[in-house]
Structure formats: structure tokens, C-alpha cells
């Protein structure tokens, strides 16, 4: 029999024992403590041979297993004297500890499923309505909160942060065509007949966006949809929308 494991794969001696029992494919109720003890000790010895640090709790368990084993080898009643009548036999005690521990180990997949399930539902940060509702500063007082509410608030924010962080990096600069830009500009002129050159460059300006906008302006000028005007050198350039009925005259 050969197995490849490391001590940090286990969360303590009970975990290691459960692993050995599972490997041996037997019920906790039916384990032969002598056999399990041997495997457990082999494991610990191999660790020692490799000069690995073993948490003392693993050694305590080893001693306990040896105690159970030796006790079983002696004629009943001799080791504990009269105590045996009312005190649980250590082998049974160990089995029960294993069963109790296994109860929680077995429920872990449920928690993992629930953890994954919750991640399917995204929620948003609460909206700030303090402006709309004109809430007074004095009403802004905190009530019944303690330092752990503060910690919880911090954790909530952290969780949200990791939710939002990639947003900016994930979005590639949008490529925009001249036609699309012409449409956008036409939309703009529907509401305002006169705009300055700077006003049509809104947020997220990229070099590409400027070039496309420039081409769109030239295109619109060419077709007499707009007129460009600059009163003096380095002054604002005005873009004026030409009303439909006026276009004929220019055309």
C-alpha cells in the first residue's frame, strides 16, 4: 500500500484518521484500531524521517492510539480497574469523536454549494437619496451601531470592490464609425442649433474618437447640414445647424 499525501492537506489528527479510514473503505464503527494505529504511526514516522515539523496534536493522537491499542491487548479490567464500569471505553470514545467530526465534514459540500449559488445573484450598492430627500445632518446620526457593524460595513465594501474593479479594465475602447458619429451629432443638433467645437467632445475622448468626429463634421459640412464659423483666430469654433428649408439655398 502506498499513498502520497502531505500533512498540510489535513486539518488535524481526526482529519488524518478519517482519511485513513476512508482509504481502508471501512465504517467508523468497524474500524480495527490496531490497524489504523499502525497506518497512523507509519504516516507520522515518514514525516519524522523527512525531518518535517509535526504539530504536537498529531503526536498526542499517536500516543492516544497506542494507549487504546495496548489496552486492547491486555485482559479486560486490568488497566483501569474499577473505573471500567462507568467510564466510556476509549476506543468507543474515539469512534464517537470521529463520527461527530465526520458529521461536520460531510456537511461542507452543502456550504460550498450554497456559497456558489449565492454568487449567481448580483446585487447593487444602495442608492444615496440624501439629496433628493434633503436629509438634515442631525438626522444622519448613527444609532445602535458598534465597532462590529463597522467591520461588517468594511467587509461589504471589500466584497463589492472586487465586484466592480474589473469593470474599467474589461471594457475595450469602443470603435465608432463615422456614420454612427454623424447620427450622434445630428441628434445633438436636434436640441441645440449652435454648439462650440469643444462641446462635441464629451467624455472618454480617444484619438480615434477625435478623428472620427472630425471626419463626421467635415461630412456634415460638405452636405450643408452644418456651417462652421470662427470669429477670430484661436477663438471657439461654432458649429451651426442649417435648417432643412435653408439647405436648398446653399445646395
Amino acid at each position: 500500500m502506498e499513498y502520497l499525501v502531505t500533512i498540510d492537506e489535513f486539518h488535524g489528527p481526526l482529519d488524518l484518521l478519517l482519511y485513513l479510514i476512508k482509504e481502508a473503505k471501512i465504517d467508523i464503527d468497524r474500524i480495527n484500531v490496531s490497524e489504523i494505529t499502525q497506518q497512523y504511526l507509519d504516516y507520522i514516522r515518514a514525516m519524522e524521517d523527512l525531518n518535517l515539523e509535526i504539530a504536537s496534536e498529531y503526536l498526542v493522537m499517536a500516543a492516544y492510539l497506542i494507549y487504546i491499542k495496548s489496552r486492547m491487548m491486555l485482559p479486560k479490567g486490568n488497566l483501569d480497574g474499577e473505573k471500567i464500569d462507568y467510564e466510556e471505553n476509549p476506543e468507543e470514545h474515539l469512534k464517537r469523536r470521529l463520527k461527530l467530526y465526520k458529521l461536520f465534514k460531510d456537511i461542507i459540500p452543502y456550504f460550498q454549494e450554497q456559497e456558489a449559488e449565492r454568487e449567481n445573484f448580483l446585487t447593487k450598492i444602495p442608492s444615496d437619496l440624501s439629496d433628493e430627500l434633503k436629509i438634515e445632518t442631525k438626522d444622519f446620526l448613527l444609532q445602535d451601531v458598534d465597532i462590529y457593524d463597522l467591520l461588517s460595513a468594511y467587509n461589504r465594501v471589500l466584497k463589492r470592490f472586487s465586484l466592480h474593479k474589473p469593470l474599467k479594465t474589461k471594457i475595450k475602447p469602443q470603435t465608432i464609425t463615422i456614420d454612427e458619429r454623424i447620427n450622434e451629432l445630428s441628434e445633438l443638433f436636434r436640441n441645440r442649433k449652435r454648439l462650440t467645437f469643444m462641446e462635441i467632445f464629451t467624455d472618454n475622448i480617444t484619438k480615434e474618437f477625435i478623428v472620427v468626429t472630425f471626419m463626421a463634421i467635415l461630412e456634415l459640412t460638405k452636405h450643408h447640414y452644418i456651417r462652421l464659423r470662427q470669429d477670430a483666430l484661436f477663438q471657439d469654433i461654432f458649429i451651426e445647424y442649417i435648417e432643412e428649408e435653408m439647405r436648398e439655398a446653399h445646395g
Binding site: 486539518h11 488535524g12 489528527p13 481526526l14 482529519d15 504539530a55 496534536e57 493522537m61 467510564e87 466510556e88 470514545h93 464517537r96 469523536r97 463520527k99 461527530l100 467530526y101 458529521l103 461536520f104 465534514k105 460531510d106 456537511i107 461542507i108 452543502y110 456550504f111 460550498q112 450554497q114 456559497e115 456558489a116 449559488e117 449565492r118 454568487e119 449567481n120 445573484f121 448580483l122 446585487t123 447593487k124 450598492i125 444602495p126 442608492s127 437619496l129 462590529y148 467591520l151 461588517s152 467587509n155 461589504r156 466584497k159 463589492r160 472586487s162 465586484l163 466592480h164 474593479k165 474589473p166 469593470l167 474589461k170 471594457i171
Partner: protein, 192 residues
């Protein structure tokens, strides 16, 4: 407000509250209807959200109704919101499970069940606000008693602790019955 307005008001309220959500009682208070009616109203709203044209729904975690995106489009939303990929470690889940079922519980009791030192895991879970001090045991040293928090319920998509599945009950019953004995055994171990 009539039914239509109540549904609209509910949607408006849940939108603003976002991840904070509202309890049944809070909604009853705001909308001036009974808790029972709130329940029915939320049910009706969730029913409306089953329409394929809708991308949101309402979940109930930690006793709070929270508006949330629908599961069906999570892959698309993940393109923008990658979320918290970090899952809890097995050790952390072991401790969480023990606290969830055995609360209030001391560190010594947790370590007894796990058979291993659990100080760091407990510290981490307290720092993540999944468990917290809920009192002290009246024994020498006044050990801290731990219990789960609302953040725990929300993280595991639970509306309340009642939703936890039962542990394999035959073993637990046995364990409970013999708990006194178990306790006396561990005490002996400690004094050794």
C-alpha cells in the same frame, strides 16, 4: 395604494435598497400592510419577474428581501463583474459549520470537535464578520461564545438558520444524549 401601486412601490423600494434590502417588517411598515401581505406581494413580484423579458428577481437572505440579477444571465454579467473568486478554505468551512449548528460555542469546544487548534481560523472568520462574539461562558477564564452573523446567512444564501439542513440525526441524537459523558471525558483529558 392598490395592488398595482404596491407592486410598483415594492420594486422602487427594493431598487434603491440594493444589497441592503428590506425585512418583511420594514416593508410592512412602509407600505402600511401586514407582514402576511408583504409576503404575498413579494411572491407576486417574483412571479412577475419570471417573465423571460425580465433580468432581475428578488432573493431572501438573512431575513432581507434583496433585488438581485437573475441566474440565467450570470455569464454575461460576469463579463463585467468578475466577483469575488476567493472561496472559503475547508478549514474555515469546518469551523463555520460547527458554529452554525452548535452556537453559541466556545473556541475550546470547536477545537474539541475538530481535534485541532482553530485559533487562526476563528480569528479570520471574525475578521470576515461571518461569526462574532455573542456572549461569554460563566466559567473560569470567561471564554468567548461565538455565533453566526447576518453576513454569514447572506454569504451562504440562507434566509435564516432554520434553513440549514439537519445533520445526520441519529448520530447527533446519540451525541446529544451522551454529551454529559463526552464533556466529562474531555475535562479529564484537559486535566491529564
Amino acid at each position: 395604494m392598490d395592488r398595482t401601486q404596491l407592486l410598483a412601490a415594492l420594486e422602487g423600494l427594493l431598487y434603491v435598497a440594493g444589497d441592503e434590502g428590506f425585512t418583511k417588517e420594514e416593508l410592512a411598515n412602509i407600505l402600511e400592510i401586514s407582514s402576511k401581505e408583504v409576503e404575498e406581494l413579494v411572491e407576486a413580484y417574483i412571479e412577475l419577474c419570471t417573465d423571460e423579458v425580465r433580468g432581475i428577481t428578488v432573493i431572501n437572505t438573512a431575513g432581507h428581501y434583496r433585488m438581485a440579477t437573475k441566474k440565467e444571465y450570470i455569464d454575461l454579467f460576469r463579463k463585467v463583474y468578475t466577483g469575488n473568486k476567493k472561496r472559503l478554505s475547508t478549514a474555515a468551512l469546518e469551523v463555520i459549520a460547527i458554529v452554525a449548528y452548535k452556537q453559541p460555542i466556545t473556541r475550546a469546544e470547536i477545537e474539541d470537535i475538530r481535534g485541532t487548534n482553530s485559533e487562526n481560523v476563528i480569528r479570520k472568520l471574525v475578521a470576515m464578520s461571518f461569526i462574532k462574539e455573542v456572549g461569554r461562558l460563566d466559567t473560569p477564564g470567561k471564554p468567548i461564545l461565538y455565533g453566526t452573523t447576518n453576513d454569514f446567512l447572506d454569504y451562504f444564501n440562507l434566509s435564516s438558520l432554520d434553513e440549514l439542513p439537519e445533520l445526520a440525526d441519529d448520530v447527533e441524537k446519540e451525541v446529544d444524549e451522551e454529551k454529559d459523558l463526552f464533556d466529562s471525558m474531555t475535562k479529564i483529558k484537559i486535566t491529564e
